[in-house]
């Protein structure tokens, strides 16, 4: 499964409680769409750290890295490449 698919499944399963892929667009802002809150984003960070073996620093916790499936995918791939 690609990073994008893994991340999509995690968000759908744990925050939208559905298998319906159309419930989440890759560009949807987690903040603006009310998909995640401040604790939810931490759970996502723990998930990607464990799943992809990367470390997210405090200064990397910004919307450009984390606030949609698109942003998360790009961030994870960048971190994996740099590891």
């Amino acid at each position: 499964m690609s990073a994008r698919q893994t991340l999509r499944s995690f968000i759908l399963e744990n925050y939208l409680f559905t298998d319906d892929a159309s419930a989440l667009a890759d560009a949807d802002s987690f903040l603006e769409k009310g998909i995640l809150d401040s604790t939810g984003i931490m759970e996502v960070i723990f998930f990607i750290e464990e799943q992809f073996g990367i470390k997210v620093d405090d200064e990397e916790m910004i919307p450009d890295n984390l606030d949609s499936v698109d942003h998360l995918t790009a961030f994870v791939e960048l971190k994996k490449a740099a590891a």
Partner: protein, 498 residues
């Protein structure tokens, strides 16, 4: 009348027209421009509302919210800021409950409400954004200036309804007068020493009384506000505090827990920050000290209040923070505190009872709920439902709440509302919702369910909650039980559930 908030803001705008009033992202607006928006909107509202009528504001913290709030007041209307996280059914319940004549909403909320509003309300309403066939705020701001005669408002005039979670499920509307708000705001400005050259960051929603008090206590002395509408990315918040040279910051315990856990406070240049103030529930003293150790130059101020008291009741002067650890301090100017026993008699120092308060800041009552008002205000004293005692020096310590309520982040949540949603799921025999300790939120929500343990049912429960409840009311855990501990009369003993 000149001491009331709208007049104070307009006076400040005349005094400091060029000074920055609100900064939000790349938007910056001066007091002069803000006042012009308020006056333009006031003129437009005269054709829409009569004095005393309610106007529902359904939008995030923004320049538009502030302009709308003050314009409604100048028009003699009553501001009803609604919780933007609510689902449309709950928003509509509040709009109907307060019988709002007009709604001012952002585009997203308007789209949720549009088809549900009665035509007479829809026809008067205004959108912050662009929606075909609905009047836009921006067009009203740009309309040619019309000099309208001021509406006479007095200290007794109703100014605001703030909905709070009720223990019985439906929220209650706290009705505050202009005098309530002005007296409390002036007291806050006094004890915090808020100055015109302060810059405050507000991460708290204006639709709750804490955020509401931050908004008015700063703007009405000419102090600017920096708005950040989410703590989801806390490092961004710290970067803004640094970039905007923020001098005052406010939060609930979870605000500070999140900043401590997920940002590099020690590395940030926050020299301009002169104080951080905390209210909204008891904060862990160990983490207060950790926060102060990370930012030793600032004063950390613990406060206590209630929506029914406009906002603030007591504060712990920073010099007393360690000496009186765990205390919420002394009554603020204009407020009398009394600890009362079950018979209503005042108790001596050291004895625990209900915290009762009196002052010009105590609400007019609950909107259209005379029974609840009579229960809350007895003999001129507001009975807060909080339990506490005063030490020999008069410092107040809170030890709990006499009413069942979950405090999670900045929210007070009635378990009953969540229980009603879960009880409707087929397969659930009984449910009890409780607050459990949470490292960041203070409390998080746990649903205890009597049913056969089943992952599909757990998922169905969470899906039902997601559909009917805002995100902050979502249970973080769903656990299954065979039976609940109960009293002899059959009442669930929630304190035994963990």
């Amino acid at each position: 009348m000149s001491d009331l908030l709208p007049q104070r803001l307009l006076a400040v705008a005349t005094q400091y027209p060029e000074r920055c009033a609100i900064r939000q992202g790349s938007t910056e607006i001066s007091f002069g421009v803000l006042a012009a928006k308020i006056r333009a909107l006031d003129a437009a509202l005269r054709a829409r509302i009569e004095p005393g009528e309610r106007v529902a504001l359904v939008m995030e913290n923004s320049v538009d919210y502030v302009a709308s709030c003050y314009a409604v007041w100048l028009s003699g209307g009553v501001v009803v800021g609604l919780n933007t996280a609510l689902k449309p059914d709950d928003l509509m319940w509040q709009i109907e409950h307060c019988a709002a004549s007009c709604v001012i909403a952002d585009t997203r909320r308007w789209q949720e409400l549009d088809a549900r509003l009665p035509e007479r309300v829809r026809a008067c309403s205004i959108v912050a954004g662009a929606v075909p066939s609905v009047v836009a705020l921006d067009d009203l701001y740009r309309a040619p200036f019309v000099d309208v005669a001021p509406v006479v408002i007095s200290a007794d005039s109703p100014a605001q309804i703030i909905y709070t979670s009720g223990t019985t499920g439906r929220p209650k509307g706290v009705l505050l007068s202009h005098g309530n708000l002005a007296s409390n705001i002036v007291a806050i400005q006094d004890y915090l020493g808020i100055r015109a050259d302060d810059v405050a960051m507000c991460v708290l929603p204006f639709f709750y009384s804490f955020g509401n008090s931050v908004l008015h206590s700063h703007l009405t002395v000419g102090s600017g506000l920096v708005l950040e509408n989410s703590l989801m990315y806390p490092q961004t918040v710290v970067q803004q505090m640094q970039a905007q040279q923020v001098t005052a910051f406010y939060g609930v315990p979870s605000t500070y827990y999140i900043l401590l856990a997920r940002t590099q406070l020690e590395g940030a240049d926050l020299r301009a920050l002169r104080y951080c103030a905390q209210a909204g529930g008891a904060m862990d003293p160990v983490r207060i000290e950790r926060f102060c150790a990370a930012l030793p130059q600032l004063d950390f101020i613990v406060m206590y209040g209630q929506t029914e008291a406009s906002a603030r009741l007591s504060w712990l002067p920073p010099v007393d923070r360690q000496r009186k650890q765990g205390s919420v301090g002394l009554a603020i100017p204009g407020v009398q505190l009394s600890i009362r026993g079950e018979d209503g008699a005042e108790l001596e120092a050291g004895s625990t009872g209900e915290v009762c308060v009196r002052g010009a800041n105590v609400m007019l009552g609950y909107w259209q709920d005379a029974d609840a008002t009579q229960q809350a205000i007895r003999g001129g004293w507001l009975c807060t439902g909080d339990l506490g005692y005063r030490d020999a020096d008069g410092y107040l310590y809170l030890i709990g709440r006499s009413k069942e309520m979950i405090k999670s982040g900045a929210h007070r949540i009635s378990p009953r509302e969540i229980e009603e949603v879960i009880a409707a799921v087929p397969g659930v025999e009984d449910v009890a919702v409780i607050g459990i300790d949470d490292e960041l939120l203070g409390q998080s929500i746990k649903a205890c369910v009597i049913a056969s343990e089943d992952d599909a049912l757990r998922r169905q429960i969470l899906r039902q909650c997601r559909e009917h409840l805002p995100l902050y009311k979502m249970p973080k855990a769903v656990d299954f039980y065979k039976e609940f501990p109960r009293t002899a009369s059959g009442k669930i003993q929630k304190h035994l559930l963990t």
